[in-house]
C-alpha cells in the first residue's frame, strides 16, 4: 500500500471525488492559485480549472453561505476554511442555514455540503488561532462531524463526507498534515459514525480523536512499560458518535480516560462520559477521567503552550488514577 501524508491523502480524496462527480467543487481562501494555505489543494486548480477550484475573498460568513446556496441548486460544494479559527464567523450559515435547511423546509432541501479545514492548535499560534471547535459543532443536529487522525482515515472520511447528502464537518489538523501512513489507492470510503480501535488492550480504554490519537498511542506505549494494557479507541466521528464501540470497550476494560484537544467544560469528552456512565454504569470500576486543554485561552509562549495541551504524560497520570495505581 502506498504511504502518503495526511495532506496528500486529503488531496487524493478531493481529486478522486472531483473526477467522479462534476458537481463537486472546492472553494475557499487561497485554495486555487496559491495551492492552498496548507497545500491540501495542490494541483487541483490546474486539473479542474477556476470554476471548480474557487478562490474566495476573506469573507467566511459570505462564502459559507455561497456554499449553502450552491448546495440548494444541487451542487456538492466543499468549502475550505483556511483554519476553523476563522469559521467562527461562518457559524450562522453552518448552524442556521446548512444544519436546519432540510428540516425547516420539510425535507425539500438536502445539503450535500462539506465544510473542512484544520481545527485546533498548531504551534505557538496564540489565543485566537488555536481554537478547537469540535464540541460546538458536535452539539448541532443536522450536521455530521468527523475528525480523522490518520492519512487513511482522512481520505476515507473526506470521500464519505463529499458523497454524503448532509452537511459534514471535516476537522483536520495543521499538525497532522505532514504525518504519514499507508493509504489504499482509489476507492476508500469510511462510513461516518464508526469508531476505530487503533490499539487493542484490556486494562483501560483511552478514548481520543484527531490529534489526541497520537497522544493516546504514546500514552499506551508508556503504560505498557509498566505493564498496563491500554485500548485506544479513536472516535473518528463525533456526530454521530459510535456509542456501541465506546460502551463495548469500556465494558471490557472497566476503566476509561477520555482525551481531547479542546477545553474541558462541555467538551466532547463530557458527552462520552455521559454515554459511558449511562450505558456501562455497572461495568465501571472507577470514575472516567478526562484529559483536555487547561481551562484558559492558548498562550503564545512555547513552554506554557506545552503545559496547556493534552499530553501523553497527562493521559498516563489519569490512567494510573483510574487504575488506582497512584
Amino acid at each position: 500500500m502506498p504511504t502518503l501524508t495526511y495532506r496528500d491523502a486529503l488531496n487524493q480524496a478531493l481529486r478522486e471525488e472531483m473526477q467522479r462527480d462534476p458537481n463537486v467543487f472546492l472553494m475557499g481562501e487561497e485554495v486555487g492559485l496559491y495551492q492552498g494555505a496548507y497545500k491540501v489543494s495542490r494541483g487541483l486548480l490546474e486539473e479542474f480549472g477556476p470554476q471548480r477550484v474557487v478562490d474566495t475573498p476573506i469573507a467566511e460568513l459570505g462564502f459559507a453561505g455561497v456554499g449553502v446556496g450552491a448546495a440548494m441548486t444541487g451542487l456538492r460544494p466543499v468549502v475550505e476554511f483556511m483554519t476553523w479559527n476563522f469559521a467562527v464567523l461562518a457559524l450562522d450559515q453552518i448552524v442556521n442555514s446548512a444544519a436546519k435547511m432540510l428540516y425547516m423546509s420539510g425535507g425539500q432541501f438536502p445539503m450535500p455540503l462539506v465544510f473542512r479545514g484544520p481545527n485546533g492548535a498548531a504551534l505557538q499560534l496564540g489565543a485566537q488561532h488555536s481554537q478547537a471547535w469540535e464540541s460546538w459543532l458536535a452539539h448541532i443536529p443536522g450536521l455530521k462531524v468527523v475528525a480523522p487522525a490518520t492519512p487513511a482515515d482522512a481520505k476515507g472520511l473526506l470521500k464519505a463526507a463529499i458523497r454524503d447528502n448532509n452537511p459534514v464537518i471535516v476537522l483536520e489538523g495543521e499538525m497532522l498534515y505532514n504525518t504519514k501512513g499507508e493509504v489504499p489507492d482509489g476507492e476508500l470510503v469510511i462510513p461516518i459514525g464508526q469508531a476505530d480501535i487503533k490499539r487493542p488492550g484490556t486494562d483501560v480504554t483511552l478514548i481520543c480523536h484527531s490529534k489526541t490519537v497520537t497522544v493516546a498511542l504514546k500514552a499506551a506505549d508508556l503504560l505498557q512499560e509498566s505493564g498496563v494494557s491500554a485500548e485506544v479507541v479513536d472516535l473518528r466521528s463525533l456526530r454521530p458518535l459510535d456509542e456501541a464501540a465506546i460502551v463495548a470497550s469500556v465494558t471490557k476494560t472497566n476503566r476509561c480516560v477520555v482525551v481531547e484537544e479542546g477545553w474541558h467544560h462541555c467538551g466532547v469528552g463530557a458527552q462520552v462520559v455521559d454515554i459511558i456512565q449511562r450505558d456501562a454504569f455497572d461495568h465501571l470500576d472507577a470514575p472516567v477521567l478526562r484529559v483536555t486543554q487547561v481551562d484558559a485561552p492558548m498562550p503564545y509562549n512555547k513552554v506554557l503552550e506545552r503545559a496547556a495541551k493534552s499530553s501523553p504524560e497527562k493521559v498516563v497520570a489519569a490512567a494510573r488514577r483510574v487504575l488506582y495505581l497512584d
Partner: protein, 338 residues
C-alpha cells in the same frame, strides 16, 4: 403610475422590457389582491391563535413582489427574508399550502415544520423564507453560483429589507456576486423601518443604491408603490443578470402594518398620521385606478375579481384549518437526508 407601456413610449428606451398586455395587467391586480386578502386573513387567524410565533405581513408592499416576479421566468429562483408570504403567493404556491404552513399543518408548503418565516417550495424554485437578517443574501449569491456553474441562464432574485444593508453578510455577498459575475438581482425593499427603527437613525447614508458603486454594480431606485415601475426595473435587472451582471435595486415602499403581528402599527417610532399619509399611496388603489382609467377593467370587474380572491383565501383558511398536524414521527424526520 408609470405603466411599462407608457414609460416605454415616452422614453423609447431600447432596453425597456416589452409592455405587459391587458390580461397580464389584470393578472397583476389579481396577485396584489390575493396577497392583500391573504394577509388580512392571516392577521385574523393570528388573533384567533391559529397561527403562532412571529408573523410578518406584507400589506402595503404588494407591488414589489408582484412587479418583480412578473419579470421572472418559471425556472428562475427566488429567495426571501421572513417577510415572504407575498412572494410565495405571487410565485404560485397555492394559498392553501401557504396558509396551511402558517397554521403549522402537514399540508403546508414546508409540511408544518417551517412556519411563516420559512416557506419553501423546491419545485417552484422558491428557496425559502429565512429568519436571520441578511443571512440569505449570501445564499442568493450561492444560487447564482450554482446556476452559472451548470451553464444555466436562470437568475436568482433576492429580497431583503433596508435594515439588512447594515449587516456584513450583505456586503460580502454583493462583492462575491460582482467578482464572479453571478446572475443575481438584489432587491432591497426599503420600507423605511427595521422594526421600530427608522433607517436614518442607524444608517449613515439612507441611499441604499449607493452601495452598488462600491461593488462596481448597476443599481436603480424604484418607486415600490408603482407596480409598473417595479416591473420595469426588475425586468431590466433580470435581463442584465442573465448576461452575468448582478444589480442592486432599491425599491422604496412602506409597510402598512406593524413589524410583525406582535408589534404595534405605530407608536414612538412613527406616527399614525404618517401611516395614514402613506396609505394614500396604496399600490392596489393605484393599479385599480390605472386599469379603470385605461378602460381595461370597470369597477364591477374589479369587485368580481376581489370576490374571487376572497373566496380563494377563505378556501385556503378552511383547508388549513381542516388539515392535520404533522404525525408525531415527523418530529425526527428530515433531520438528516439519506
Amino acid at each position: 403610475m408609470t405603466p411599462a407601456t407608457a414609460a416605454q413610449a415616452k422614453t423609447k428606451d431600447p432596453s425597456a422590457p416589452s409592455p405587459l398586455p391587458p390580461d397580464r395587467l389584470r393578472a397583476l391586480l389579481r396577485q396584489m389582491l390575493l396577497v392583500r386578502r391573504f394577509e388580512e386573513k392571516a392577521a385574523e387567524a393570528y388573533a384567533l391563535g391559529k397561527i403562532g410565533g412571529f408573523c410578518h405581513l406584507y400589506i402595503g408592499q404588494e407591488a414589489v413582489a408582484v412587479g418583480s416576479i412578473a419579470a421572472l421566468r418559471d425556472d428562475d429562483y427566488l429567495i426571501c427574508s421572513y417577510r415572504e408570504h407575498g412572494q410565495a403567493l405571487v410565485r404560485g404556491i397555492p394559498p392553501a399550502e401557504v396558509m396551511a404552513e402558517l397554521f403549522g399543518k402537514a399540508t403546508g408548503c414546508s409540511h408544518g415544520k417551517g412556519g411563516s418565516m420559512h416557506l419553501f417550495d423546491a419545485k417552484r424554485h422558491f428557496m425559502g423564507g429565512h429568519g436571520i437578517v441578511g443571512g440569505h443574501i449570501p445564499l442568493a449569491a450561492g444560487i447564482g453560483f450554482g446556476i452559472k456553474y451548470k451553464g444555466g441562464d436562470q437568475v436568482c432574485l433576492c429580497y431583503f429589507g433596508e435594515a439588512a444593508v447594515n449587516i456584513g453578510a450583505f456586503h460580502e455577498a454583493l462583492n462575491m456576486a460582482a467578482v464572479w459575475k453571478l446572475p443575481v438581482v438584489f432587491l432591497c425593499e426599503n420600507n423605511r423601518y427595521g422594526m421600530g427603527t427608522a433607517f436614518e437613525r442607524v444608517a449613515a447614508l439612507t441611499d441604499v443604491a449607493e452601495h452598488a458603486k462600491s461593488y462596481d454594480m448597476e443599481s436603480a431606485e424604484v418607486d415600490g408603490m408603482d407596480v409598473f415601475a417595479v416591473y420595469d426595473a426588475a425586468a431590466r435587472a433580470v435581463a442584465r443578470a442573465r448576461e452575468g451582471h448582478p444589480t442592486l435595486l432599491e425599491v422604496r415602499t412602506y409597510r402598512f402594518m406593524g413589524h410583525s403581528m406582535s408589534d404595534p402599527l405605530h407608536g414612538v417610532y412613527r406616527t399614525k398620521e404618517e401611516v395614514e399619509e402613506q396609505k394614500k399611496r396604496d399600490p392596489i388603489v393605484g393599479l385599480t385606478h390605472h386599469l379603470r382609467d385605461e378602460g381595461l377593467m370597470d369597477q364591477a370587474a374589479i369587485d368580481a375579481l376581489d370576490a374571487e380572491v376572497h373566496a380563494e383565501v377563505d378556501a385556503a383558511v378552511k383547508f388549513a384549518d381542516e388539515s392535520p398536524d404533522p404525525e408525531p414521527a415527523a418530529l425526527m424526520r428530515d433531520v438528516l437526508a439519506d
